[in-house]
């Protein structure tokens, strides 16, 4: 096997702090390499450094990146351009902002195709673009070339990003968290696609993910990173079965497994009377002429001290439901009763939301203390001193140092921000906490911290929690009951263990089957030659 990519001693500095410290690896044609590691350990930075596309302020201070004999770290910009996209391609971590909002998806694919002076005619490029979209499972591909990115769901956008990177059959494909926004079924499709490409065109793959299941399924070899260094490397199966470094062991231990039974019952016992009763909830977005119905008559009960897990396809209406419950959006139909009384138009003090994206929900101009104190001020709870005491207490409850109250959101890590969001939601002493994907962006170790925190709060305060997530293993672990959403409807509700082990609805079964497992990977590498078209079961718009 020939080596296509040879990275040695790669070091990246951000104005004094070293983000990547002496990373090195080799990649042969047709090989697959996974990179895992703590959030902030330098995974994305490494990937960006490979193409020399570091954000302003970042600099490669040492090392080399040899692609087929050329050192990318030292190549002139023009020569580098000729390689990017054609020989080494990249899928970025954040699909939402990585697509140009004012160009149609067709135009962007076209740009990618013509970037390297390909001799294709206009019509040929069009055909190829359609093919690429089709490949990543966007239904109705030819039609949708005319749409703009905002007209696609988050998961679809992530797949468009992948289609762009596939435009030129590059020798190396670097995929940074390619499936974070995807539910298990679609995630499965994408992973199969990557595997297939790897196998058919001999493209070497570098996959970055915090989801060990994903890595297991796609990558033969593995790097584990921490604090900018590679702490462990080797064949995936070996590392997973016999981790050497303590951090790797920690990581593995924290991975929730789908086959572990729910721990919720041990944690708390739900009350008899439902706290929150939702009946026939409907929500339609858009104008009369062009509307999207996100919720079709959803019924839901939430009891005190209970955690209800909510899973479902991306775009099935989970966030819409969450927002309706906290009255951030008026529903188009149905009723929401809290303790038997209809909720008013304004947000209710006792129903609070923890946002999907912690960072954007924190006001960048305020300190953590101010942010947590806001609901207290709004509801006129306590005077200045009492509020300060309460903020300190809350911070301690979520496991943060009260001294951190003076810091701005920017100065916290992802997991810490998530906890600030939780502290804020807890401040007005709610009895219902709605958590919208509180862990999707976190690596397993931080994820475990957050889950532990929620469990403790439920135990101590008897909170009712609606827990929305993609990751079924986590959901099973924390929930008393699980509800499954599909196309704006709840298709199945039941005790957590029962839903996972004996799904009643076919969609639930499909979802479960798609979850990548560490064990299965160890047993038999994901081959399942699915050359069948990667058709999607869902249709968007």
């Amino acid at each position: 096997m020939t080596t296509v990519l040879h990275v040695s001693d790669l070091t990246v500095d951000f104005g004094g702090t070293t983000a990547v410290d002496g990373v090195g690896f080799e990649l042969a044609a047709g090989e697959t390499l996974g990179i895992v590691g703590e959030s902030g350990s330098g995974k994305s930075t490494t990937a960006l450094a490979l193409l020399r596309m570091l954000p302003p302020g970042g600099r490669i201070t040492a090392g080399s990146v040899h692609l087929a004999g050329q050192d990318l770290a030292a190549l002139p910009e023009e020569a580098l351009r000729a390689l990017r996209g054609r020989r080494i391609a990249m899928v970025f971590q954040d699909p939402m902002s990585s697509l140009n909002p004012v160009l149609t998806v067709g135009r962007q694919l076209d740009e990618a195709l013509r970037a390297h002076g390909s001799a294709l005619r206009r019509a040929q490029r069009r055909a190829r673009a359609t093919e690429l979209l089709d490949l990543v499972g966007i239904p109705d591909a030819a039609e949708r070339l005319r749409d703009h990115p905002h007209q696609f769901s988050g998961g679809q956008r992530q797949r468009i990003m992948i289609a762009l990177a596939l435009a030129h059959d590059a020798e190396v494909l670097v995929a940074d968290e390619p499936t974070t926004a995807l539910d298990p079924t679609i995630q499965q499709q994408i992973l199969r696609l990557l595997t297939r490409i790897n196998r058919e065109t001999g493209t070497a793959l570098v996959v970055i993910s915090h989801d060990l299941g994903v890595i297991t399924q796609t990558c033969e070899r593995l790097l584990v990173m921490r604090d900018g260094r590679v702490v462990e490397r080797g064949a995936t199966a070996e590392i997973l079965s016999d981790p050497q470094h303590p951090y790797t062991r920690e990581l593995l231990a924290a991975v929730p497994r789908l086959d572990e039974p729910s721990r919720a019952a041990a944690n708390s016992t739900p009350g008899e009377q439902p706290l929150l009763t939702v009946r026939g909830l409907g929500k339609t977005y858009g104008t009369r002429r062009r509307s999207v119905t996100a919720l079709h008559g959803v019924d839901l009960d939430l009891h005190p001290g209970e955690t209800l897990g909510l899973v479902g396809e991306s775009g099935s209406g989970k966030s819409t439901l969450a927002r309706a419950l906290v009255r951030a959006q008026a529903p188009s139909a149905g009723s929401i009763r809290f303790r038997g009384e209809e909720l008013g138009r304004r947000p209710h003090r006792e129903v609070q939301l923890v946002f999907q994206d912690p960072y954007s929900s924190l006001n960048p101009r305020m300190t953590a203390g101010q942010i947590i104190a806001e609901p207290l001020i709004a509801h006129g709870l306590g005077d200045r001193e009492r509020r300060a005491a309460r903020v300190a207490e809350l911070l301690e409850q979520v496991g943060l140092d009260p001294a951190m109250a003076e810091r701005h959101p920017r100065a916290f890590s992802g997991g810490q921000r998530q906890r600030i969001g939780i502290a804020r939601a807890l401040a007005p002493e709610p009895s219902v906490l709605i958590c919208d994907e509180p862990v999707s962006a976190l690596d397993v170790s931080v994820q475990a911290q957050v889950i532990e925190l929620l469990a403790r709060l439920q135990r101590d305060l008897g909170l009712a929690i609606l827990f929305i997530a993609h990751d079924l293993a986590v959901v099973r672990q924390v929930s008393h009951r699980i509800a499954v959403m599909h196309h704006g409807r709840i298709v199945e509700t039941g005790p957590a263990d029962r839903v996972v082990t004996a799904p009643e609805h076919p969609y639930t079964a499909e979802l479960l089957a798609a979850v990548p497992r560490l064990e299965s990977a160890l047993a038999a590498p994901a081959d399942a030659p699915t050359t069948a078209p990667l058709a999607s079961t869902r249709s968007t718009t």
Partner: protein
């Protein structure tokens, strides 16, 4: 598009009505009156009174306003007081000339601002950046009345390349018209071009820092194409808004520039109208300017939604 217009038209009409009221009042607030202008420098107060009543200026203000609106709606706006001729003819002639001037200037604004902005946003060479900077600010610092006079001195008086002033219609004598148009249009366009260039440059710089530009780079799209095809379209919507605002400034600037280049447009007419307190001319003209401006705002909003697909969605 239809719904957009249907939604916007009522408020646009309301703006026009308010504007008519404002125009009417403002004119009456300015001291001096048409009768004294008409009566000449050595008139007696009696003569002035006679002319006032002949023009109906002794009527109560409100009835003057109503009869003006009535005339406007009936389409017969009548003769001017002091300038001579029918107001409609005066405005019609001036409108053509001013449209020629402002549209020419607008075109220049785009032609100057676009390359300047792109150059300023993308250059890595400090001297080039400094030159772009100097041009965009120098032009804003030197008032058009100086620019205009200097242009005339250089290109007409010294070099004899262009006529010092005057106007030909683009429709009948296009080759001559362009030569007459050159200096006034440049003079009018420069400050606006500087402002638009500044906003555009800012927009391009911001777009260049976005993730989607990073995507284009990662795909190997060339630097030039990245700037023109990926960053620029994102900077355009807000630049279009600024351009729309500049139309107002161009119309206002026409008053100065038309004067310097003896350009027979609405700016001259407004100035003459104001100086002679020719109420009908000024009133109708200002209302027309407001209407044009409101229409331009409608157009920029339309362009905005066209350029930025996200807005259509909402």
């Amino acid at each position: 598009m239809r719904t957009f217009l249907l939604k916007r038209l009522p408020s646009a009409l309301l703006v026009l009505l308010l504007a008519s009221f404002a125009v009417f009042l403002i004119l009456r607030l300015i001291p001096g009156d048409p009768a004294t202008s008409l009566a000449g420098p050595d008139a007696t107060p009696e003569t002035v009174e006679a002319i006032r009543s002949q023009l109906g200026l002794d009527q109560p203000l409100f009835s003057q306003y109503v009869s003006w609106l009535g005339r406007l709606l009936s389409g017969d706006i009548g003769p001017s007081y002091a300038i001579g001729g029918q107001v409609a003819d005066l405005i019609g002639d001036g409108f053509g000339a001013t449209a020629q001037l402002t549209l020419g200037a607008l075109l220049l604004v785009v032609l100057i601002a676009l390359p300047l902005a792109v150059l300023g946003a993308t250059t890595r060479s400090r001297p080039v950046a400094a030159v772009v900077q100097a041009v965009t600010t120098g032009v804003l610092a030197i008032p058009p009345f100086v620019t205009g006079v200097v242009l005339v001195l250089v290109f007409a008086v010294s070099l004899g390349l262009l006529p010092a002033g005057g106007h030909e219609s683009l429709l009948t004598e296009p080759d001559l018209a362009v030569q007459y148009l050159a200096m006034p249009a440049v003079c009018l366009a420069l400050p606006s071009a500087a402002v638009v260039a500044r906003y555009l440059k800012d927009g391009i710089e911001r777009a260049l820092a976005e993730d989607y530009v990073r995507t284009a780079t990662a795909l190997g799209v060339s630097r030039r194409r990245t700037v023109w095809r990926h960053a620029l379209p994102n900077a355009l919507p807000s630049a279009i808004t600024v351009l729309g605002l500049q139309v107002g400034h161009l119309i206002a600037g026409a008053v100065l520039v038309e004067r310097i280049f003896a350009w027979p447009g609405l700016g001259q007419l407004i100035e003459q109208g104001v100086i002679r307190r020719d109420y009908p001319v000024v009133q109708d003209l200002l209302l027309l300017v407001v209407a044009v401006y409101v229409a331009v705002q409608l157009l920029t909003d339309l362009a905005y939604t066209w350029l930025d697909p996200r807005i259509r969605w909402e």
